[in-house]
C-alpha cells in the first residue's frame, strides 16, 4: 500500500489529556485505572474514567449533540493543536477533500439509557428533549466532528466492536488512495456507559481488579474511555526523519464465534500477515508489538499464539490496557497514538499491573519500559463478532 503520513495525532484517556501527559504516564508506568464509581453503577470492577468530560461544553450551534461521548470527542479535539491542524488541512485541500472516519462501539448510548429511566409513566414515551440521531446513533460522533471541523468530504462511523478505530485507518487509506479525498480525520471515541459495564459483567469478562494482561492470574478486562485522532495525508516530498507513517493495514474475520476469539488465533494471524504484506515487510522488520492484550484468559492466549507463530518468541510485546483500560471502540486509535509515541520517543512501554507472566504464553511480554530506538510497531485490535485489524506504523527516516 501507499504509506500515509500522520500529520498530527492526539489522545485523551485516563492516563492523560493530550500526548505529553500520556507519554509521561507511559514513561512513569502510571495506570489510570480506579475503582468504579461511575454514575449509578454498582459493579465490583476498575475503570479508566477521563476526568472532567461532562464539564466540557460543545459550541452552541451543536448543542443537539450534547452527550458524554461527544463531550469526550470535543475534549480530545482541543488537545495538541489537533483542531488547528484539521483547519490547516481544510485550507490546504478544501473542505470537500477531507474525509472523516471515526470508530465507536456505543457512541452516546448512555443518553438513551438515561432517557429510559425518565419515560412517561403512562404512555412510556421517552423525554421530549431526548435526541436519538446526534447522540445514540453510531454516526453521531463522526457527524459531530464533521460539523465541528467544517468538513464536507465523505464521513462515516466504523462500528466493528473493539476493532472499530483500527479499521478506520484502513478505510481512510483506501479512500485517499482512490483519489476521492486528499486527507482524513481518523480516530475513535468511546465513553463509559451502563450497556458495556453491565454487559461485559454479564459475560463474566470484566475483572474485579485492575486488568493484568498476560498475567497467569488474569481474569478479565477493565473498561476505559478514550478519544484519539490522527490526521492522515499522502507522504510529502519533504519529510522529517522523525515523522510517523502508516505503513500497513490488515483485516480479517474469525468465522468462529460472536464473543470468543478463535482458540488458535487464526483470524488474528491472518490480519497480522495482511498488514505485513501491505507494508511489504518481513516479521523481522517489526521492533515492538502493541498487543490487543485485553487481559481475558482467551484473548491473550489466542493472541500470543498468533504473534509467536509469525514473529517467534523474541519480539518485545506489551499491552497498554493495564494503564488505560480497554477503551473498546476507541482502543485501536488510542493504541495507534501510543505506537506513534513509541516510535517518536524510543519507548517500548512495559505492561503495568502484570506481576507473574503466564508461562504458557510464548510471546515475549515486557513488564519494564525499554528505552531504545523503535522504527516499526505493529498494533493489534480484535473485537466481538470475530473482527480483526492490525496496523503497522514506522519512522520516516
Amino acid at each position: 500500500m501507499m504509506p500515509l503520513l500522520l500529520a498530527q495525532f492526539t489522545a485523551t484517556s485516563c492516563i492523560g489529556q493530550g500526548v505529553t501527559p500520556t507519554l509521561a504516564s507511559l514513561v512513569e508506568k502510571r495506570s489510570g485505572l480506579q475503582r468504579c464509581e461511575f454514575e449509578t453503577v454498582s459493579i465490583d470492577t476498575y475503570i479508566g474514567e477521563v476526568a472532567g468530560v461532562d464539564a466540557q461544553s460543545l459550541p452552541t450551534p451543536l448543542r443537539s449533540f450534547e452527550c458524554r461521548n461527544n463531550r469526550l470527542a470535543e475534549l480530545a479535539l482541543l488537545q495538541d493543536g489537533f483542531f488547528e491542524a484539521v483547519q490547516a488541512a481544510v485550507s490546504r485541500w478544501g473542505r470537500r477533500r477531507v474525509g472523516v472516519f471515526i470508530g465507536t462501539s456505543t457512541a452516546g448510548i448512555l443518553q438513551t439509557e438515561l432517557a429510559y429511566r425518565a419515560r412517561d409513566p403512562i404512555s412510556g414515551a421517552l423525554p421530549a428533549g431526548f435526541e436519538y440521531g446526534p447522540t445514540h446513533n453510531s454516526f453521531s460522533v463522526a457527524d459531530y466532528l464533521r460539523q465541528r471541523c467544517g468538513l464536507d468530504g465523505p464521513a462515516v462511523a466504523v462500528s466493528a466492536a473493539c476493532a472499530s478505530s483500527a479499521k478506520v485507518f484502513a478505510a481512510a487509506r483506501r479512500m485517499i488512495e482512490s483519489g476521492l479525498i486528499d486527507a482524513a480525520l481518523v480516530g475513535g471515541t468511546d465513553s463509559l456507559c451502563l450497556t458495556t459495564l453491565y454487559g461485559f459483567h454479564s459475560l463474566q469478562l470484566s475483572s474485579p481488579a485492575p486488568c493484568r494482561p498476560f498475567d497467569v492470574a488474569r481474569d478479565g478486562i477493565s473498561i476505559g474511555e478514550a478519544a484519539a485522532f490522527a490526521l492522515l495525508e499522502r507522504v510529502p516530498d519533504d519529510l522529517d526523519a522523525d515523522a510517523v507513517l502508516l505503513l500497513g493495514t490488515g483485516e480479517s474475520s474469525d468465522a468462529y464465534h460472536m464473543s470468543a476469539p478463535h482458540p488458535e488465533g487464526l483470524g488474528a494471524k491472518r490480519a497480522i500477515q495482511a498488514a505485513l504484506a501491505a507494508a511489504s515487510m518481513q516479521p523481522g522488520d517489526v521492533d515492538y508489538i502493541n498487543l490487543h492484550g485485553t487481559g481475558t484468559p482467551s484473548n491473550d492466549r489466542a493472541e500470543s499464539q498468533a504473534v509467536t507463530s509469525i514473529f517467534g518468541p523474541t519480539i518485545p510485546c506489551s499491552s497498554t490496557k493495564g494503564a488505560t483500560g480497554h477503551t473498546l471502540g476507541a482502543s485501536g486509535a488510542l493504541e495507534a497514538v501510543i505506537s506513534a509515541l513509541a516510535i517518536r520517543h524510543g519507548l517500548m512501554p512495559g505492561g503495568v499491573h502484570t506481576t507473574h507472566i503466564d508461562p504458557t504464553l510464548t510471546a515475549l511480554y515486557i513488564r519494564d519500559n525499554r528505552r531504545t530506538p523503535v522504527r516499526r510497531v505493529l498494533s493489534n485490535s480484535f473485537g466481538f463478532g470475530g473482527t480483526n485489524c492490525s496496523l503497522i506504523f514506522g519512522r520516516a527516516g
Binding site: P154, S252, G385
Partner: protein, 265 residues
Amino acid sequence: MTVAAFIGGIGVLGPGLDSWPHTAAVLSGRQPYAPSVTVLPTPSMLPPAERRRTGRVVKVAMAVALEAANSAGADPRQVSSVFSSSGGDGHICHEICQALALPSREVSPTRFSNSVHNVAAGYWSIATGSMTESNVLCAFDASFGAGLLDALTQTAVDQRAVLLVAYDTEYPPPLHAKRPIPDAMGVAMLLTPGRDSGSLARMEVDLSQEPSEKISDPALESLRLAIPAARSLPLLRLLASGASGRVVLDYLDVSRIAVQVAPCV
C-alpha cells in the same frame, strides 16, 4: 476523480419487495408496487443454536447477502464484505435499555454479544466460513452511500471482489417515536474490479452537489425516504431498466453520489 466497479449480483428484500427479480419488475413498471410487511427468512445456513439467537438485523442482512452472492455465483469465502446500516439491532437495544432502567440491571449476555453493530457481519462470517476483510459502517441516513463508497474503494484500490450489504431495521416503541424506521429492508450488491461472465453493469461513481433523483411512484418515493437502504432505489431502477444512464443518490446533507451506469450486454 471517479471510482468504478462491475456489479455481478444483486439482492433485495423490503416492504413489498421480496427479491431482486421482483424488485426489478416493480421498478421497471412491469408489476405494480404493493407495499406489505417485510417477511424475513430464517437464516438456514447458520447452525441451529446460532439461528435461534439471531434477530431481524441478521436475518435481513444475510438474506440479501446470500441472494447477491448466489446470483453472481460467488463463493462468500473468497469475497470481502461491507456491512452498512443506519443502526444496530433496535429490539436488542430496547431490551438492554429497559433492563438497565430496572434496579436489578440484569443484562442478558447473549443479547449483549448480539448488540454490537457488527452482529450481521459476525454471523455472516460464521455461517459462510469467510475469514476475509469485513467492514461495518454507519452513517445514519447516509449509510447506503457510505457503504457504496467503501465497497468501491476496496474494489478499485485493493482489486478484490466485495459484497456490499446495506440494511436497516425498525426500533420498537418508545425509541420508534424518535427514529421512525417503519420496517426492515436490505440491499446487497456484489462488486468486482474487472468484468466477468456474470457482470450485469459497470458503475462509475463520483461525489456530487447536484440534487438527488426522486421516484415518481408516491409509495416507492415514501419508501426511499423512510428507510436509509432504500436511498438506493433510483440506482436499482436504472439497473432494472437495462439502459445506460446516470443517477444521483442521496448521501450526506452537503454531498450526494453520482453513479454512471453502463450495462454489460
